[in-house]
C-alpha cells in the first residue's frame, strides 16, 4: 500500500482533505488543477508538500482523459474522485479498472456504482428486500396510459390517507440532482407535465423513461453512513440529518446523529426509526456486495416512516460529522473516513467490527458559502482579502481559500468557501459552539464594483435553531 500513489481528481476542500489522508497513510499523491484554480490553496499545499512534479494543470476536472493522462504520466496507481465530478461515474470507474494500465478507483466497484446509480433499480432491489421506498413506480414508464393510471392511483391513495394537498412527482428516470423533476398537484395537469418531462429526458439523457411517485411534503432528510471493504465487511457510522437546505436542495447545515430524542420530542420513536434505517441500509449493502464508503439517503415523514431515496456511492461532503461522533475500539478522537475509504479501496481489511464502533456527542457541519441568501441564494463573486476563523479544539475548518493573500473566487465552480465541523458533548453544546464559531469568523472581500462580500454566515447562525428539530 505504501507504494501506492493517489491521483486526486478533485478541487477545493475535498482535495485538501484527501491530501491529508494520504499523508497520514504515508501515501504519495498528485493533484490536478485548472487555470481558474491556479490560486487555489490545494495547489499551493501540494507544491509545498510534494514538489512541483506532483501538480498538473489540466483543461477540465470533468475530462476523464485528462485525469488518466496525468495518472499515467505521474505513475499514479489509484484515483480518488472526491465528491461530484467522477465520484459516481461508473464509466470512469470501469475505465480505470479495465484500461491497459489499470488504476484503483477509490470508491465502490463500478458494477455497484452502475447498479445503485439508477434510482429505479435501487428502488426495485430495495423493495425486493423489504426495504420501504416512496410509493410510486419502480421501473421507468414509457407509456402514457400506464403513467396516468399510476398517477390516478397515487392521488387516490393520498386522499385515502387524508392528505389535504396531495401531489405527485414526475421525474426523468435517468436524471438526478434535482434536474428533470416536476410536481403535479392535480390529476388534470398530469398529462402535460408528463409529456414535458418525457421530452426533457429524451433530449437530456437520451432515455424518455419517467418515474412517478408520491410527493412527500413534510419530512426530514436523513442519511446513514456506511463503510465496507473489499472483503465483505460492512460497518455503519450512524446517521446524519441533512434537512436544512437552500433552494435547489443544496445542503447547508448538517448534524449527526440523525435525531436527538434526549433533547427534542419527536412524534415517533426516533431511536427506533434510526435503528430501522441503519438495519435496512446494511441489508441492502450486503445484498449488492457494497465495498467502499457510501451514504444511504432516507426521508422520514412525520408519522415516522422512513423511505429509502437513493444511495450515494461516494464520500460525502458531510462525512466528517459522522466521523466526528464515532469512536473505534474506544479510542479518543474522531475517525477519518477518507482514510478508511482509501485503505478499503486499496484492499485492506477494516481491522474492526461493528461492535468496536461507538458514538459520542453531536457534530454539526456548516457550509460557508459566498451567496446572497436574500436573493435566492445567488452566488457572489469577487476577491477575498481576509479570511479568519477561530482556532478551537472542538472545531475544524476545511477550505481551499488561501490565507495571507487575496483570492478571487473562480466563477466556473461552486461558490463554496469552507466547511466547518463543530463537535459538542451534546446537541446543545454543539449548537452553542457553532454559534460561537460563526460569530468569530471574519470574512472580507469585495467584488468588481467594490461592493463588500456577501456570505451566508448569518443564515447559518439563524438556521442552527432548527437543527435536529422536526
Amino acid at each position: 500500500m505504501s507504494e501506492d500513489c493517489v491521483l486526486i481528481a478533485n478541487r477545493g476542500e475535498i482535495a485538501i482533505r484527501i491530501m491529508n489522508a494520504c499523508n497520514e497513510l504515508g501515501l504519495g499523491y498528485v493533484v490536478v488543477y485548472t487555470r481558474e484554480d491556479e490560486a487555489s490553496f490545494h495547489v499551493e499545499l501540494a507544491r509545498e508538500q510534494r514538489g512541483a512534479g506532483a501538480v498538473y494543470r489540466i483543461s477540465s476536472y470533468k475530462d476523464p482523459n485528462e485525469i488518466f493522462s496525468v495518472a499515467d504520466r505521474a505513475n499514479a496507481t489509484a484515483i480518488h474522485p472526491g465528491y461530484g465530478f467522477f465520484s459516481e461515474n461508473f464509466r470512469f470507474a470501469r475505465r480505470a479498472a479495465l484500461r491497459s494500465r489499470p488504476l484503483t478507483f477509490i470508491g465502490p466497484r463500478w458494477e455497484v456504482i452502475r447498479d445503485l446509480g439508477s434510482k429505479i433499480n435501487t428502488k426495485r432491489v430495495a423493495k425486493s428486500l423489504g426495504i420501504p421506498v416512496i410509493p410510486g413506480s419502480d421501473s421507468p414508464i414509457y407509456n402514457e396510459m400506464d403513467a396516468e393510471a399510476l398517477a390516478e392511483e397515487l392521488f387516490f391513495m393520498q386522499k385515502e390517507q387524508g392528505i389535504k394537498h396531495p401531489s405527485i412527482l414526475v421525474k426523468a428516470s435517468a436524471g438526478g440532482g434535482g434536474m428533470g423533476i416536476e410536481e403535479v398537484n392535480h390529476l388534470d395537469t398530469f398529462k402535460r407535465v408528463y409529456r414535458r418531462i418525457q421530452n426533457y429526458a429524451k433530449r437530456q439523457f437520451g432515455d424518455e423513461g419517467d418515474l412517478i411517485e408520491q410527493c412527500l411534503t413534510d419530512y426530514q432528510h436523513l442519511e446513514v453512513q456506511l463503510l465496507c471493504s473489499r472483503h465483505g465487511e460492512v460497518v455503519h457510522f450512524g446517521t446524519r440529518n441533512c434537512t436544512i437546505q437552500s433552494t435547489g436542495r443544496q445542503k447547508r447545515v448538517e448534524a449527526a446523529p440523525g435525531f436527538d430524542p434526549q433533547l427534542y420530542d419527536y412524534p415517533f420513536d426516533a431511536s427506533k426509526v434510526l435503528e430501522r434505517m441503519v438495519k435496512y441500509s446494511v441489508r441492502l449493502a450486503k445484498h449488492v456486495g457494497y465495498d467502499n464508503v457510501g451514504t444511504w439517503e432516507w426521508v422520514v415523514t412525520r408519522d415516522g416512516s422512513p423511505y429509502l431515496l437513493e444511495v450515494n456511492t461516494r464520500i460525502q461532503v458531510e462525512n466528517e460529522i459522522s466521523a466526528a461522533i464515532s469512536r473505534i475500539k474506544g479510542h479518543q478522537g474522531p475517525v477519518n473516513l477518507i482514510k478508511e475509504q482509501i485503505r478499503s479501496a486499496l484492499g485492506e481489511k477494516l481491522g474492526f467490527k461493528q461492535k468496536d464502533v461507538s458514538f459520542e456527542g453531536t457534530s454539526i457541519e456548516l457550509r460557508i458559502v459566498a451567496e446572497d441568501v436574500k436573493r435566492g441564494f445567488s452566488p457572489w463573486c469577487g476577491t477575498i482579502s481576509r479570511f479568519d476563523f477561530p482556532e478551537e479544539p472542538w472545531a475544524r475548518l476545511y477550505t481551499h481559500v488561501p490565507r495571507g493573500r487575496p483570492y478571487s473566487i473562480p466563477t466556473e465552480y461552486d461558490p463554496n468557501l469552507a466547511l466547518a465541523i463543530i463537535w459538542g458533548r451534546n446537541t446543545e453544546e454543539a449548537k452553542e459552539r457553532a454559534k460561537a464559531f460563526i460569530s468569530a469568523c471574519n470574512i472580507q472581500g469585495e467584488d468588481s464594483q467594490g461592493r463588500a462580500i456577501v456570505t451566508n454566515l448569518d443564515y447559518l447562525y439563524e438556521r442552527l435553531e432548527d437543527v435536529l428539530r422536526f
Partner: protein, 752 residues
C-alpha cells in the same frame, strides 16, 4: 460561288466531326486538312473556279477516305465522341422529322422550367394502302441543344424530371402512348427540391405501372438520368448511341483513383469505355435494350433524313408491338413475322395494317404484367447461382412449402379469377355483365376459406416488458469489435460543441457509437444492427446462394470480389433475411459497406427483388436498411443500371399489394439505389449523421462547377428538402421501427 461556300462549310463540318470522333485534331493531320479548307474559304475569290473545285475534290476524296477508315473500326470511346458531337441529331431534329406536328408543353425554348427536358404532344402518322393514319403520342426527352447554355447539355434538373412525370400522367389520363428520347449524359446532380435522386425514383415508381404503352429510344443513355424516362415497354437504341452506368471519364477517375483536378490519362478513359460495354451491340447482348436502330456508319447527324425515316418506322413498329402483345399473342406473332421478313431491307414506305394504340382495361393489365415480367427478367445472367447444399436444399424445401402455404392462403384465387374473366372477355365483348355472376360464388368461397386474420397478441404486449434493460446487461450481449481497444477518439464536432474525447470501449459499447454530448453518430459495423435491432435469434438469412459475379469480365473485378468474399464471409453486398422486431415478423434487405462499398449489381438486385416478393407473399413488412450504398456497381455496366427499374417494379408491386415498405439510410447512401427502389419508398428515414444524396461532392463539383457545403447531403438537410420523413437516433432505432411497423403501412400486412 455560293455553292462552293456551302460545300466548304460542309467539308469543314465533316472534318470537324472526324476530329470530334477521334478526339484528336492531329490524327491523320486533320487539323491541316481543316486549315486547307479555311484557307480556301479565305482565298475563295482569288482562285479560279476550276482550281477551287479541283482542290475541293481532292479534299473531299481525302475526307471520304478518312471517314471510311474511321467507320471501319470505331472504338467504344469514339462512339462516345460521336454521341457527344455537336453535330449529332437532337430531340429537336426528331420532333421536326419523325413527327408530323408537335406542340411543346410545359415551356418553350429558354422559357422553360427546364430546357433540358422537352415534352411535346406530337402526331406520328403512317400510310396504309394510301390511307394516312395519325397517332397521338406524348413525346418526352432530353434536349441537348446546340451548345446553348440553358439546355445544360441535356442534363435534366430535378424539376425537369418532375415535368416529365407530370406529362406522363397526362398521357395516362388521355390514354396515348409515350415516346421517350434519351439524350442525356446524366441527371444534374443537385439536391434542390424535388431532388435529383428522389425525382428519378418517383418517375421510375410511376412508370413501372403507367397504363399506356411506352417506347424509348436511347442515343445517349447516361445512367440514372436515362432511367428517369427510360422504364418503357420497348427500349430502342441508336446503333451509334451509348448507354452506360457512368461516363468513361467518371469510371476512369474511380478505377484509376485519380485525384480531383488531376488529368485523366486518355488511355485509361479508352480502356474504361471498352470495359463498360456501353455500345448498342453490347447492350443488346446484355439484354438491357430490345433492338438497335441502324444509323449511318459514322452516326446520324442533323441532316440524315433517311435515318429519321427509319426512326419513325421503328417507333411506330415498336409501339405496335407493345400494343399487340397485350391483345393476343397470335396477332403479335403474325405481325412480327411479317415485319421480320422486311428486316435487312430498307424500311418500307407503307405499313400493312393500322393498329389503334388505345388499350382496354384488360389489355392494360396485361401490358403491366408484361412490363413487370420484362424488368424482373433483366440482369438474370449477371449473377452466379450456387448449387444449394443439403442444408440449403432443406431451406429451399421450406421456402417452397411456405410459398405453397401463402399461395393457398392468400394468392390462390386471384389468377383464377383473372382466367375466368379472360374467357368471358374473349367469348363476348361485354364481359363485365357476366363477370359478376361468375365471380360472385368465387368471392364467397374466398371469404369462407380465408377468414379475417386476427391480430397477433404479441403486437400489443406492454412496453415495460421490453424495457427491463437498466439492470439487465443486455448491452453486453454484443460488443462491437471496434470496442476492444484502450484508446480514445475525438468527436468530429468537438470544436463546435466542446465534446470530450471518447474512450473507445465506452463509445462502441453502451454508447452505441453515439457521442453523448452532441449526438454525433460514429459509424458502426452492420453486424451491430443485426444484433441490436432485431429480436434475439430471429434473424434468418435466405438466398445466400446468389453470388455477385463479373458479367462484363471487367478487368480486376474478379480479384476484388474474391477479396471481399474472403474478408466478409459473404457473397454479395446485400443481406436478405427474415427477422422479428418485438414479435412482428418482417423481411429485411440490408446493403452494407464492407462488400464493394454496398454497391448494387445483378446479384444484389435479384436478392432484393426476391426479398421484396417474399415480403409480399408472406404479407410481412419489408425493411430496406441501408448501412451504406455507393450506388450501382459500375463494373457491371448497364446490367447494374437496370437493377434500378427492376427493383422498383418489385417494390411498386409490393406496395400496391398493401404492404409496408420502409427505407432507413445510415452512413452514406448515394446514387442509383437512392434514385430508384429506395427513394420511391413512402417511408424513408435517415439515421442521425447519415448522408443521403444523388452524387457526392466531387461529382457535383465536376459536373456543375459548383462547390457544395460540407453538410449538403446531411440527413438534416435531406429532411429539410423533404427527401426523408424523419431522423432517427440509432439508440431508438428499434423502438421507432416497432412503432412504425405498428402504425404505418397498407391493409394487407399479416398483423393488420
Amino acid at each position: 460561288m455560293a455553292d462552293s461556300g456551302k460545300l466548304l462549310t460542309q467539308l469543314a463540318d465533316r472534318i470537324s466531326y472526324l476530329i470530334d470522333i477521334k478526339g484528336d485534331a492531329k490524327w491523320a493531320n486533320l487539323d491541316e486538312l481543316l486549315d486547307r479548307v479555311h484557307g480556301l474559304r479565305q482565298s475563295l475569290f482569288d482562285i479560279t473556279e476550276a482550281r477551287l473545285f479541283e482542290e475541293l475534290d481532292r479534299i473531299e476524296e481525302r475526307v471520304s477516305f478518312l471517314e471510311d477508315r474511321v467507320a471501319e473500326k470505331l472504338s467504344p470511346a469514339e462512339v462516345v465522341n460521336i454521341v457527344r458531337s455537336i453535330q449529332r441529331f437532337t430531340l429537336q431534329d426528331v420532333l421536326e422529322n419523325v413527327y408530323d406536328s408537335y406542340t411543346e408543353l410545359g415551356g418553350e425554348g429558354e422559357c422553360n422550367i427546364d430546357p433540358a427536358m422537352v415534352v411535346a404532344r406530337a402526331i406520328i402518322s403512317r400510310r396504309v394502302k394510301n390511307k394516312l393514319y395519325r397517332h397521338q403520342v406524348m413525346v418526352i426527352g432530353h434536349e441537348k441543344g446546340r451548345g446553348e447554355e440553358f439546355r445544360n447539355g441535356g442534363c435534366a434538373r430535378p424539376w425537369g424530371n418532375d415535368k416529365a412525370l407530370r406529362y406522363m400522367r397526362v398521357a395516362e389520363t388521355e390514354g396515348i402512348p409515350i415516346h421517350f428520347f434519351i439524350f442525356t449524359p446524366g441527371s444534374f446532380p443537385i439536391e434542390d427540391y424535388p431532388g435529383a435522386a428522389q425525382q428519378i425514383a418517383r418517375n421510375l415508381y410511376v412508370m413501372s405501372k403507367l397504363k399506356v404503352p411506352m417506347v424509348s429510344f436511347i442515343s445517349e443513355g447516361g445512367s440514372g438520368g436515362a432511367e428517369a424516362i427510360g422504364l418503357s415497354d420497348i427500349r430502342l437504341m441508336g446503333a451509334m448511341g451509348y448507354y452506360s452506368v457512368i461516363s468513361p471519364e467518371g469510371a476512369a477517375a474511380i478505377e484509376g483513383r485519380i485525384r480531383e483536378g488531376e488529368k485523366l490519362p486518355k488511355e485509361l478513359i479508352r480502356h474504361c469505355a471498352a470495359q463498360l460495354k456501353m455500345t448498342a451491340k453490347d447492350n443488346l447482348e446484355l439484354g438491357t435494350i430490345d433492338r438497335i436502330i441502324e444509323e449511318p456508319p459514322l452516326g446520324a447527324r442533323r441532316e440524315d433524313y433517311g435515318f429519321f425515316r427509319r426512326l419513325r418506322y421503328e417507333m411506330i413498329r415498336a409501339t405496335d408491338e407493345v400494343v399487340l402483345k397485350t391483345k393476343s399473342f397470335r396477332a403479335f406473332r403474325a405481325y412480327a413475322l411479317k415485319q421480320r421478313a422486311e428486316e435487312g431491307k430498307d424500311i418500307p414506305e407503307d405499313f400493312d395494317v393500322a393498329i389503334a394504340w388505345d388499350l382496354s382495361d384488360l389489355e392494360i393489365e396485361r401490358l403491366l404484367e408484361l412490363r413487370s415480367k420484362k424488368y424482373r427478367g433483366l440482369g438474370k445472367r449477371g449473377y452466379i447461382q450456387l448449387k444449394k447444399g443439403l442444408r440449403l436444399g432443406l431451406g429451399r424445401a421450406r421456402d417452397m412449402a411456405t410459398k405453397g402455404y401463402y399461395e393457398l392462403r392468400y394468392g390462390l384465387l386471384r389468377p383464377h379469377q383473372r382466367n375466368v374473366q379472360k374467357v368471358i372477355e374473349e367469348v363476348s365483348g361485354e364481359g363485365t355483365v357476366f363477370l359478376k355472376k361468375v365471380t360472385e360464388p368465387v368471392r364467397a368461397a374466398y371469404d369462407f376459406v380465408f377468414p379475417k386474420l386476427e391480430r397477433p397478441r404479441k403486437v400489443s404486449a406492454p412496453e415495460s416488458m421490453e424495457r427491463r434493460s437498466i439492470f439487465a446487461e443486455d448491452w453486453e450481449q454484443y460488443v462491437s469489435p471496434l470496442a476492444n481497444e484502450d484508446r480514445t477518439v475525438t468527436c468530429p464536432n468537438a470544436s463546435k460543441y466542446g465534446c470530450l474525447d471518447l474512450w473507445v470501449p465506452d463509445l462502441y459499447g453502451e454508447l452505441c457509437g453515439v457521442c453523448p454530448s452532441c449526438g454525433h453518430h460514429f459509424p458502426l459495423e452492420y453486424q451491430w444492427y443485426l444484433e441490436n435491432l432485431f429480436d434475439q435469434g430471429s434473424v434468418r438469412e435466405f438466398n445466400t446462394h446468389i453470388v455477385s459475379g463479373n458479367p462484363l469480365n471487367f478487368q480486376g473485378l474478379d480479384a476484388r470480389l474474391k477479396r471481399d468474399i474472403k474478408r466478409t464471409g459473404r457473397k454479395s453486398a446485400i443481406i436478405t433475411f427474415d427477422a422479428e422486431v418485438k414479435g412482428i415478423k418482417l423481411v429485411v434487405a440490408m446493403l452494407y459497406s464492407d462488400f464493394r462499398s454496398g454497391t448494387v449489381g445483378s446479384a444484389e438486385g435479384e436478392k432484393f427483388v426476391r426479398a421484396c416478393d417474399r415480403a409480399r407473399t408472406t404479407r410481412r413488412p419489408f425493411l430496406a436498411y441501408i448501412h451504406t450504398t455507393g450506388g450501382i456497381r459500375i463494373q457491371e455496366g448497364t446490367l447494374g443500371v437496370v437493377q434500378m427499374p427492376k427493383c422498383t417494379v418489385a417494390v411498386r408491386e409490393y406496395i400496391d399489394s398493401g404492404g409496408l415498405y420502409m427505407v432507413v439510410y445510415d452512413n452514406n447512401s448515394y446514387a442509383g439505389p437512392v434514385a430508384s427502389f429506395l427513394g420511391c419508398s413512402p417511408y424513408q428515414v435517415g439515421i442521425r449523421s447519415s448522408r443521403i444524396g444523388f452524387a457526392g461532392p466531387r461529382v457535383i463539383r465536376e459536373t456543375t462547377g459548383q462547390d457544395v457545403p460540407p453538410d449538403y447531403h446531411s440527413a438534416r438537410n435531406a429532411l429539410k428538402r423533404g427527401h426523408i420523413q424523419g431522423i432517427w437516433d440509432r439508440r431508438e432505432f428499434r423502438k421507432n421501427l416497432y412503432d412504425a411497423l405498428v402504425t404505418m403501412g397498407g391493409p394487407n400486412l399479416y398483423y393488420k
